[in-house]
């Protein structure tokens, strides 16, 4: 592979090095990405249109509801032309979790950082465990990894339907469609659903009625299935959303035949539901495409994604950075970067080399100094890499040209990429690297999945790579991801039975007293590559003298909700809104609801709690601002 923008070359043996003779190789003025439209051009265009058109509205949607956490979106909409000229995504919360982690015992990282997010606390526990394990040199025994995979499949079992039915679903419900797209309703009443045999709805109108918030059958069933999957989580974790049994080097779960059987029995009820879920989101997608081609542009973005990999091969994972290309590429979901549909790399170390985070438009001060010029293998990394990040939170007034959000701008090779459960399907489908198994097959252009029989017959289903992302393909992808995750759960459960049969049920690398004795005193780095319901999730840990000296989290919504970067490239939400046509009838401007933009944003499954408390460094505690006469002591 080669980088397009970063001045990093590879020698014949695959080793990476900085191109010689470049004085400041990572300066934002040195490696400049190709930008479609600069801020100045965009601004000039808006001014020109403003002058000639009275239908331009400047509106701030704050708060955007039916997303997790605090999100606002500012838009400039041209109602006459039906386009969004500008968009700014704002994360409106900062909590300072990593400030709180500074100086703590590394054993505390899992429990503290899990609290970063209550929608997906389990994934944070695990990412933190991975980061801690790499730093401390702890490889969990296979049974520990298998039990992790089971729990993490169950977490997706709750997370995906929560989004599809409680958060996104109402946007496609009768209540919304009849209000904002009344022209579609007569068509929906006549449109026969191809998936009727699975979900039971004869017409699209019937299906849309079932999506109505609170009263709809699909809404309520979705809620029930999130509960069932959470029961599976707490069998293994004690509680949810913050698991009590994820520990450095494995798990502390007491696994008995009852544990496995209860998990098994609940999982058995899910596959029927999974078939219904996929059929619903296939039908919604096909209906809207059929009704109006313009829906393909709602929330559209190219196939440019980043994925960290998810669910380990229990026999490959050894917690080392040195072998991460080996064990990382054997995950159930393949790590990778895809740019415009092309798979650029699947190697975790290369993904890591291209990773940077920028704060030009975020409520933080620039940091200076770089602790690390290379990764542990000697590959160059940027001073903007998360291991080097020292961010100073600085609340200030909002200014669209300057700082307007608590989220930062992560980029890969200085290009805008998006994260998502569907991104996981894309990298996995293209890479064809997942472990041999009976249920999931990557074909290079699709993923085939074999769903076991429940009350409904067994089925083989196939997810195809779409031409581009849009709100429908994201939601449909999430529905197929639900199935994939549950099949990983089943395969892992079978592996747990096998290990139990062999008597190989050691679940943690060390006992608590050994753990205490083995806290390294030298400087160590860890990187927890993991996945969330929304895709990519990484925790970065630096420890020294037995204490945490830097902790950074980058979440999928940090990536997706990112503001402009130093070159004016908008983040994925912003790009998606600006591509979205205004299809709803706005001949009366007071009737403008913003539904098309809301469908676009919600399809990413925004999850803001863990997006916005993430950056720190020593000295972040800004006591000097506390000089207001009314301030606390």
């Amino acid at each position: 592979m080669c980088f397009k923008n970063l001045p990093v070359d590879f020698d014949e043996a695959g080793g990476a090095r900085l191109r010689e003779g470049i004085p400041d190789p990572y300066s934002v003025a040195t490696a400049i990405p190709q930008v479609e439209q600069t801020e100045e051009e965009r601004e000039a265009q808006i001014q020109r249109l403003m002058a000639q058109n009275g239908h331009i509205k400047d509106l701030n949607m704050d708060p955007v509801t039916r997303v997790a956490g605090a999100l606002a979106v500012h838009v400039t909409a041209d109602l006459k032309e039906g386009v969004y000229l500008d968009a700014h995504s704002q994360a409106t919360l900062f909590r300072g979790y990593e400030v709180i982690l500074m100086g703590r015992d590394p054993r505390d990282a899992i429990f503290v950082s899990s609290r970063a997010c209550g929608v997906c606390g389990g994934v944070h526990s695990h990412a933190s465990a991975y980061a801690t394990e790499m730093a401390m040199g702890l490889a969990p025994p296979p049974f520990g990894t298998v039990v992790r995979n089971m729990g993490e499949a169950a977490e997706m079992g709750y997370d995906n339907p929560l989004h599809l039915y409680l958060l996104a679903g109402p946007d496609y419900s009768e209540a919304v469609v009849r209000a904002v797209n009344p022209e579609l309703w007569p068509k929906a009443e006549k449109w026969s659903c191809a998936g009727q045999e699975h979900h039971g709805f004869k017409t699209m109108a019937d299906l849309m009625t079932a999506l109505n918030p609170l009263t709809g059958a699909l809404y309520r069933e979705g809620l029930e299935f999130t509960r069932l999957s959470r029961e599976m989580c707490v069998i293994l974790w004690g509680k949810y959303p913050h698991p009590q049994t994820v520990i450095p080097g494995g798990m502390s779960t007491t696994v008995t035949p009852q544990t496995l059987n209860e998990y098994h029995s609940k999982l058995g009820r899910i596959f029927d539901y999974a078939q219904r879920l996929m059929a619903v989101w296939d039908d919604i997608t096909e209906f809207f495409y059929d009704a109006d081609e313009r829906y393909k542009e709602v929330g559209a973005r190219p196939l440019s994604v980043i994925e960290s990999g998810y669910w380990d091969d229990p026999y490959a994972y050894d917690a080392t950075y040195e072998n991460s290309d080996e064990w990382g590429q054997r995950r159930w979901s393949t790590p990778g970067v895809v740019i415009d549909g092309e798979l650029v790399t699947t190697r975790p170390t290369q993904i890591n080399m291209g990773w940077e985070e920028f704060v030009e438009h975020s409520f933080y001060e620039e940091w200076s100094g770089d602790r690390y010029a290379t990764d542990p293998l000697g590959n160059p990394i940027s001073p903007y890499h998360s291991w080097n990040k020292r961010t100073l939170p600085k609340p200030e007034g909002r200014n669209w040209k300057e700082k307007y959000t608590w989220a930062t701008a992560p980029r890969w090779d200085r290009q805008v990429v998006e994260a998502g459960a569907y991104a996981r399907l894309l990298t996995t489908a293209l890479a064809q690297k997942q472990p041999p198994n009976d249920f999931i097959e990557a074909t290079g252009h699709s993923i085939k999945m074999r769903i076991p029989k429940g009350l409904t017959p067994e089925a083989e289903v196939e997810w195809h790579i779409p031409e581009q992302w849009n709100c429908f393909e994201r939601n449909r992808g999430r529905a197929y991801h639900y199935v994939m995750s549950q099949l990983v759960g089943l395969a892992s459960l079978l592996e747990a039975y096998k290990l139990t049969k062999q008597g190989d049920t050691r679940i943690a690398a060390m006992s608590p007293s050994e753990l205490e004795r083995n806290i390294p005193k030298d400087e160590r780095r860890g990187l927890g590559w993991w996945g969330a319901g929304r895709g990519w999730l990484t925790h970065y840990l630096v420890m020294d003298r037995g204490k945490i000296v830097n902790y950074q989290i980058t979440t999928p919504s940090t990536i997706n909700a990112s503001p402009r970067d130093p070159w004016g490239q908008p983040g994925p939400y912003e790009q998606a809104v600006m591509r979205t046509p205004i299809i709803e009838d706005v001949s009366d401007p007071s009737k403008f609801t913003g539904i098309d933009m809301l469908r676009a944003i919600r399809s990413f499954d925004p999850c803001m709690p863990c997006t916005t408390h993430i950056h720190t460094g020593k000295g972040t505690v800004v006591r000097e601002v506390n000089t207001c006469s009314c301030g606390v002591d």
């Binding site: 009263t215 809620l223 959470r230 004690g238 949810y240 409520f363 943690a508 403008f592």
Partner: protein, 420 residues
Amino acid sequence: MATSVAQKTPAQRLLDVLGPVDRWHDHEEIGDFGMPTRAFMEDMVEPLAKAGLGSRLGPLEKVHAFWFAGMSCDGCSVAVTGAQAPSVESLLMGAHPGLPRVVLHHPVLNVESGPNYLRAHENALKGELGAPYVIILEGSISDETMAMAGTERDNYGYWSAQGEEPWGRNGENRIVSTDEWIARLAPNAAASIAIGTCATWGGIPSADGNPTGAMSLMDFLGKDYRSVFGVPVVNVPGCPPIGDNFNETVAAILYFLQGFGPLPEFDELGRPAWLFGETVHRHCVRGAYYEEGTYAETFGDPECLVEIGCWGPVVNCNITSRGAINHVGGCMNSGGACIGCTMPGFPDKFTPFYKRPPGSLVSTAAARLLGSFVKPLRRYTSAHLNREVRWDLHNEVPSGWAREQSEPSMVQGRGTSSTT
């Protein structure tokens, strides 16, 4: 009554800076923006949720609930969606017999966004809601005066915000912090309820290093706070809380207000006494191991977890009896040591985690001593009870599963599977 500056609560100090408000969004101008159903959630649900006179068991027909996610992770919201006693959908649909329907204003659940989502909040401030309201806070309160310091008056910096209102000096929109909403709404609320350890006791955002001045709802509103019904802040802690603990507390208050339920009992910290009056250890499924002096040595072991960092004997929590969701799970039930997440001292009085609580040294040693007497006696009796009377008479056990076991004595016999 004059109050000196020193006695002012953080909420009063914030409002002193921000001043009173009397301007509201022009909803004609905003139109349907952010409201894709062209109707408020409340009005959409009302036809199905409103009870007829025949099924009203008390004076209240509906209660508004304003849910604020302050410096939160949304985990409490997630926990509440898991509740079953009663479920959130039954409360919202008026489907829990005798209770008023709850008109919930929740950023994760509502259909309307933006200024239209905030309309009911404005009505509550104006006193035009037409029904009592409660406020619910999930997540810590931040010290917004810290974030505001040094920034422009009508474009303040903030830590945690929800929406904009035309509260700038010249009627321009400015960002409204979650704290400001709470400071303004709490005095006229029927109840102010803190859910989860961040809102009840500050939680992780207020832990050592706390850069945002994070604090609890009680800290923010102060000791003298009373709702219009005369109630101090109600606290349902846990990180996350058990969803049923919260919904049950809300229901218990409503049962009382409707006239058929007893006055719910709260402890001296405002916790529902029937839920937090016991330690987690008293109902622990592994508790009897403690009594016998048998402790887990490593992760995954089935015995009492106190020597690998469990604080259960001193933590007020009911998760071992109630489970986490639908009576499934529970920390120790599945192998997790208690880290005290329901407690005001969480997290700093419990870290580093996985280290045995220092206070347990004496008690576990004492329990070991006692256990060395109790355990053999119990084994003896258990073995006796594991034999039919007939087997005793014939002096044989016709089980193909193990060698025949003689009547154990205090000297020999380890359980029922060994004779030698």
